[in-house]
Point group: C2
Chain length 352, copies 2
DNA sequence: TATATTTACGGGTACGTACCCGAAATCAAA
DNA sequence: TTTGATTTCGGGTACGTACCCGTAAATATA
């Protein structure tokens, strides 16, 4: 019932090389103060024994902290969506800080890519060992993570993915499938007119994020041979005035729209518009368990909300970094979150 | 750059309770030798401080080994599929044995549920801390894992899932989707006759496993409105004579079958039959990167093989147990493996 | 050659927990 | 009261690695 003793550690290496443990340690961390000759001898023994350090002991003895950076949008008046991932991040932080992990969070403004760049370069300056980020701005994120890669700093994406970057992992929704689900829900109250709108309220109109969702959305109708016209509405300014203006125009142009699918959490602003303009006949589907959204869900202005467990995204994102950097354990490259459907009826029980 | 000291460990508990570390330790592991009074005092402080043990230090100091059991099919002459998961299991074992994990593997005969039961009860007798199993026989597995749950022994499924059991996680294919992919590949050479066969060569004809795959298979044709007749062929005996007999009869009855989809790795026996009976006109799709299957793939008797990274299943299955039991880190409940498509052209480069 | 400086290395302690061993305190039996 | 058994507890070491500090040896400078 006891551990076997076939494991060779620094002690055995030191014994074989006729040196002290301290010298072996110097070689292992290539610190100075070892002659070339003994260094070579020790390295040979390390290779011969295929020495694998005991990470548990290593972390325990180390006084160094592993500092991680988090780069996510600031909670703004417009949306408090990022409160949830932040909660998960905080929970993970409190769990792993006793193992020498320190988390610093940097916030950017979703309406201003420049703030993303500022914070990103701040992260690059403060030498962090790992980065968790929401790649809300694709090109800016690409630039940033390439710099990370050059510094050999692993990075994790949450909320949305950036394809073909060498990220440690992605934790978030399968965007295409999420759009697909959104489409199915959009047909829920469809009668005869057969027009649905897909609304993108965002500064970044052609983000990979959005394109994936829209593609999934359209695929549903194609796969099911539904002869439905899909109206795409882009709203570049996120304030409620712009939303009202653009939606008024669009609904004027297409007065027979039966359902609106909003591709992100700003569905509440569409709901507000529908409420004011008394268009409760239009079915509304959108994203995320925000207070405003839930309010409109309860008022039956929103029919369905799709949620991707944002708290868990934050939690698992940090834990993924912890697992590689501290525990040395492998991590799945992709963690797709559930695509949860929240309605007026089940919302009270939802675990965000 | 140094660890902060806000962490309260056993030392602090001991100090506050005016006892020694050893006594605190006794309470933590509810060993005997502590009076009720001090036990209560210590427990109060533990609760007050919300003490979380340092798992790294705990594992390092502990002389106890954590023994895990693995229950998978024996590599038989019929199929060497389980060599791959075994390789992954061995790899994981060699990585984690230095942290006090010991793995014992139990093998059962895929043709004999009784051997499963024997091995299962052997596992229940030898008190293991975690179990990794391939639930090839559903009902037998159900019985087994319920016994595990009662003993509070976590268990992990690989290769196929058993729904609604309280498993730590499942690591394997999305069976429905895998059948769906199989269906798509079955249409690859389809001409006009529009008949495909789905062949299940297994003792366990109605396994959850198989039903899921078949459901996915059928869904593809339904989703794409393909007016294709699907012939279901059950072959209960896995020897080549039975396969030949049953297939001969089936092909006689349906002489216009254009494609055959075999729902498991025994596709080579169908390939052998097609070769003998010179029916190279029939498209053949099946599972798993076995030597025999690859040979028939190269002979162009098999068109496609679908693979689910069996080696990784074994590896990740064990690592999942390691992560919960040793590292105390959370584990995703479901790890869907890739549904890889292997052809004659790409097989040489496939990473099983 | 004497002294200062640098290089190379070993001793030893710490990390937080587990657990062995011995000893004091309490209790039971005589 | 004495002896023995039992309960209750503390000291101290070990796990494998990191790293501080001191020192002998090698080298440089006078």
């Amino acid at each position: 019932m006891d551990k076997e003793n076939t494991y060779y550690g620094v002690k055995e290496i030191a014994r074989r090389a006729n040196v002290s443990i301290a010298t072996v340690d110097r070689v292992l961390h290539n610190r100075s103060g070892v002659s070339e000759k003994t260094k070579r001898k020790i390295n040979d023994i390390i290779k011969e024994l295929d020495y694998q350090p005991n990470i548990l002991a290593s972390r325990l003895a180390s006084k160094k902290i592993i500092s991680l950076a988090v780069l996510i949008p600031r909670v703004s008046e417009e949306t408090d969506f990022w409160e949830a991932p932040m909660k998960g991040i905080t929970r993970a932080d409190s769990e792993i800080k006793k193992y020498g992990v320190q988390v610093t969070t940097f916030y950017f403004d979703l309406n201003d890519p420049a703030t993303f760049n500022e914070q990103a370069s701040a992260i690059l300056d403060g030498h962090f060992k790992g980065v968790l980020l929401a790649p809300s701005f694709i090109e800016e994120s690409r630039k940033f993570v390439r710099a990370c890669r050059e510094k050999k700093v692993p990075f994790v994406f949450i909320d949305s993915d950036v394809p073909d970057e060498d990220n440690l992992c992605y934790i978030g929704p399968h965007l295409f499938q999420s759009g697909y689900v959104g489409a199915k829900l959009s047909t829920y109250r469809l009668k005869e007119k057969h027009k649905v709108a897909v609304v993108n309220i965002s500064k970044e109109t052609d983000s990979y994020n959005y394109l994936q969702i829209e593609e999934g959305f359209r695929s549903y109708f194609k796969d099911h041979n539904l002869p439905i016209e899909i109206i795409r509405i882009d709203i570049k300014d996120t304030d409620s005035l712009s939303v009202t203006r653009d939606l008024t125009r669009a609904l004027h142009q297409h007065d027979d729209i039966e359902a609106i699918f909003v591709t992100n959490s700003r569905v509440f602003s569409v709901a507000a518009f529908l409420e004011k303009s008394k268009r409760t006949d239009i079915s509304l589907i959108g994203y995320d368990y925000l207070k405003e959204n839930i309010a409109y869900l309860n008022k039956e202005l929103i029919d369905f909300l799709i949620c991707h467990k944002p708290e868990e995204q934050g939690y698992r994102g940090l834990m993924a970094l912890y697992q590689t950097l501290v525990l040395g354990a492998p991590v799945e490259k992709t963690h797709f979150m559930p695509i949860d459907i929240v309605t007026k009826e089940n919302q009270a029980f939802y675990q965000n």
